[in-house]
């Protein structure tokens, strides 16, 4: 297993390298002038040139690139063009905020999603199934920013029971967590339903019933344990995608996470920060995938990694 993990880690290196290179090239191709941006629209040319020099943007592109890569290899992500702070310091607290939100959201999505899916599968074709299916359909279709605004208007303005935006107290977590989880929740519910329906028809479930086991034991211990295998993969993947979904939720709820950091950085052509955020996203994605694979192996004894 260790060998497997090491191989996965080594495999990730060329991909991360590719990410960095593509981002660098993209910023070379799109027409923009970071120095002019930082100086502001009302800055004289002389001021702009001074800033260009300060940022090292007066050097040829290939020098900037090799310089960046050389530093990157030693673990140095450089400094933000705009705040001039170390990129690592910019990312750290933002990453924690995004992870906190994503973890709560995936927990909510998984518990409610699995519950909803199970209820639907057990009551296949009945009213409960239809209700659950409709909830899942709405959850998948609804635009997150719109749901966010609706909730904000209802809970903050009309009822006045939840703060509209920010991240100070636990009450600030409620709406962004729900908004971020809705798509994944619906996705997990659907997955659980179809997977469970397949398993319920299996012989061993019939055997369990024949032995006289109670229905909740049949569903809970025998059927669900097997039906959840594909769900685990989905949960892992959804968690990865959640980092991306946080982009929208963070903007709507003014949540100080990586998504907002990235939106601002792209708008300001703060290339080191954009590189840092994307690298972190990519690395997290890799890690999650590896963990999902491992979890899969643990849950299903037939799968072994060498």
């Amino acid at each position: 297993m260790t060998a497997y993990l090491v191989r996965r880690a080594l495999l990730s290196i060329p991909t991360l390298f590719l990410v960095v290179t593509v981002v660098f090239l993209a910023f070379q191709i799109i027409p923009s002038d970071p120095a002019r941006l930082f100086a502001g629209e009302t800055a004289a040319q002389e001021t702009v040139e001074r800033i260009r020099k300060d940022l090292g943007l007066d050097r040829p592109a290939w020098v900037q690139y090799t310089d960046y890569i050389t530093k990157l290899v030693t673990g140095n992500l450089g400094r933000s063009f705009t705040t001039r702070r170390l990129v690592v310091d910019e990312l750290g607290p933002r990453f924690v905020n995004t992870i906190k939100l994503s973890v709560w959201a995936i927990l909510l999505a998984t518990t409610v999603g699995v519950l909803l899916g199970t209820i639907a599968a057990v009551n296949q074709g009945k009213t409960m199934d239809h209700i659950a299916t409709i909830i899942a359909l709405v959850g998948i279709s609804i635009p997150v920013f719109w749901l966010g605004l609706l909730m904000m208007f209802f809970f903050s303005v009309t009822l006045g029971i939840l703060p509209a935006a920010g991240n100070e107290t636990w009450r600030h977590y409620i709406m962004p967590t729900v908004a971020l989880s809705v798509f994944s929740l619906a996705f997990i519910a659907r997955m659980t339903r179809s997977s469970l329906l397949e398993v319920i028809r299996q012989d061993y479930v019939r055997t369990a019933r024949a032995k006289g086991a109670q229905e909740w034991v049949v569903i809970g211990r025998h059927a669900l344990a097997n039906a959840l295998l594909p769900v685990v993969i989905v949960v892992g993947l959804r968690f990865g995608f959640m980092l991306g979904g946080a982009l929208v939720v963070e903007e709507v709820f003014a949540w100080p996470g990586l998504g907002r950091l990235m939106i601002v950085a792209v708008g300001q052509r703060d290339i080191p920060v954009v590189q840092g955020v994307l690298l972190l996203f990519a690395a997290t994605f890799f890690l999650i995938n590896a963990l999902v694979d491992l979890a899969y192996g643990l849950l299903d004894p037939r799968i072994r990694y060498a």
Partner: protein, 536 residues
């Protein structure tokens, strides 16, 4: 009969007046409540500003937060008038070339060090030596700290606009002791000035928390214990936050949200005309816009009132001068081009552009197709206004194609030297934050102000105007400068129609109705609440 009616009306009116006066007397004390101390004011605003090193930038969102912790030698009152702040007395020699400034005594920076002439000199030196933004509007030959509180400035030329210029927030006075200790890095994320508030917490793009300065040199001020700026970049979220009473003040709301909050109890909308003007630059260096007749035709073809009605829902005013507006010292209204599409058509015919197939004018076999570069949400109403202009120009036979760019791409695309400026029209806004006409003269009107050096993106130049500007800069007082030269300069530029002159933009702020003493500072286009207070 008629006399009786009039008499009755008179009686009724008198009765009303008596009632009004009586009622007024009773309501007197309630109308002017006394300020109370304490409380926290929270403000939701938009910014992407990564730091608060004021010397380095001149940006609305940074200026917005600046006056709470940094002060300048001069300030502006709620009417936009320049008033002394850190300066107590001034003496100017008759030739206007030597200024002796006495500073306010007993002023201390937040770190306890005293404000003195040497400290002020250090700040100007940093600005000039580092070539930070706007260093070039300082006409200083020497800056000298004569004694503890006396600063002597000798100038390279008379500068009647020195007061408004250095009242600009970017000429903030930092504590040199602190600044030298923390260096550039430290000055970006913290601030030690003489202002009524100190910086308690600053996380860029997130939050700026300010705490009352208990040792503020103006006794009894400020009233508030705390001011919190929250960065909320989503328009709808800011509107929801103030409606949910999560914040007391919300900036840059959409016109629709402003209209809704106006009629919602518990809120008030502060309105005013700042120095922002919306206009469309016309590339005077590139055919067909190098022809003054075509530029005038474009000005005649666009209904400015329709833009005010449809984009600003009635806010704002039709601009009466090129780039300049009434909040600026030296402004002279030069007029606006009447909305008259027949006049526009006649001018285009005269310029040789005949109506061709598909309702597009043609000259020498070339159709009149122009590109209008604009943004969506770069400033309020930019895209909507561009669309209206496109439609109106179509009506006189000009085919306009809209090119929408995001800000990061937009600025370099439209900031090019004359020989590389390949754009036709660009939607832009301008704000004269010094509140003085010289800024417009030197960075927009004079031919040497052409982009990228300054902001004359029209690449406009007129030798007559250049000469008048150069003469006007020798005037020793703003009064003589304004009365002798400004009328002629403004009218000449207006007649040359270097731009499509549009709207003096409205500035609006949503505030909860328990907040008092917050106002629009017209030149800076910001809303100082440093001396604001809240009823409980």
């Amino acid at each position: 009969m008629i006399a009786t009616k009039r008499f009755r009306a008179f009686v009724a009116l008198t009765a009303l007046l008596i009632l009004a006066v009586g009622g007024g007397a009773g309501a007197g004390p309630a109308a002017a409540p006394q300020p109370v101390s304490g409380g926290s004011l929270s403000i939701a605003y938009v910014t992407t500003a990564p730091h608060i090193d004021l010397h380095q930038v001149n940006q609305g969102a940074v200026n917005e937060v600046a006056h709470y912790f940094y002060e300048t030698l001069y300030d502006r009152d709620p009417n936009g008038k320049v008033i002394p702040l850190l300066v107590k007395e001034e003496q100017i020699t008759p030739d206007g070339l030597t200024w002796t400034l006495k500073l306010q005594p007993n002023v201390k920076f937040h770190d306890g060090t005293p404000l003195n002439a040497a400290a002020v000199k250090w700040n100007f030196d940093r600005k000039i030596n580092r070539r930070f933004t706007l260093f070039d509007i300082l006409p200083f030959r020497t800056i000298e700290a004569v004694d503890e509180l006396t600063l002597r400035l000798t100038l390279t030329r008379p500068a009647p606009n020195l007061r408004p210029n250095i009242s600009t927030k970017t000429f903030a006075i930092y504590s040199p002791t602190w600044a030298q200790r923390v260096g550039d890095e430290g000055m970006r994320l913290n601030a030690v000035g003489t202002g009524p508030f100190t910086v308690a917490e600053f996380r860029p793009n997130e939050i700026l928390r300010l705490r009352k300065n208990p040792n503020y040199w103006q006794k009894g001020l400020p009233y508030l214990d705390e001011v919190v700026f929250r960065v909320v970049n989503d328009n709808n979220t800011r509107a929801t936050m103030i409606q949910a009473r999560d914040v007391d003040v919300a900036q840059s709301l959409s016109v629709q949200d402003i209209r809704r909050l106006k009629t919602t109890p518990g809120f008030k909308i502060l309105e005013g005309i700042g120095s922002q003007q919306a206009y469309i630059t016309l590339n005077n260096a590139k055919p067909p816009l190098d022809d003054v007749k075509v530029r005038r035709a474009i000005n005649h073809a666009v209904d400015k009132e329709a833009i005010i009605r449809n984009v600003y829902l009635g806010g704002g005013k039709v601009a009466q001068a090129v780039y300049a507006n009434p909040t600026i010292d030296g402004y002279v209204p030069a007029g606006s081009w009447k909305f008259d599409q027949n006049a526009a058509r006649a001018l285009l015919d005269e310029a040789g552009w005949r109506m061709g197939p598909g309702g597009v004018r043609v000259k020498d076999g070339r159709p009149m197709q122009l590109e209008l570069i604009t943004r969506r949400g770069g400033s309020p109403g930019d895209y909507e206004t561009s669309e209206i202009v496109q439609g109106m120009l179509k009506q006189v036979g000009i085919d306009v194609r809209l090119v929408v760019l995001e800000s990061a791409t937009f600025v370099p695309r439209v900031t090019l030297p004359r020989d590389r400026a390949n754009y036709d029209m660009v939607y832009l806004t301008v704000g004269t934050f010094t509140g003085d006409i010289e800024y417009i003269l030197q960075t927009f009107y004079h031919s040497s102000s052409a982009a990228p050096r300054y902001f004359n993106r029209a690449h406009y130049g007129n030798p007559v105007v250049d000469q008048l500007i150069e003469q006007s800069l020798k005037a020793t007082t703003a009064k003589s400068r304004n009365s002798i030269y400004m009328g002629q300069i403004m009218r000449t530029v207006f007649n040359d129609a270097p731009i499509l002159q549009l709207i003096d933009m409205p500035q609006e702020l949503a505030v909860r109705d328990n907040v008092h003493s917050i106002f629009l500072e017209p030149a800076g286009n910001n809303w100082p609440a440093k001396y604001a207070w809240k009823t409980r």
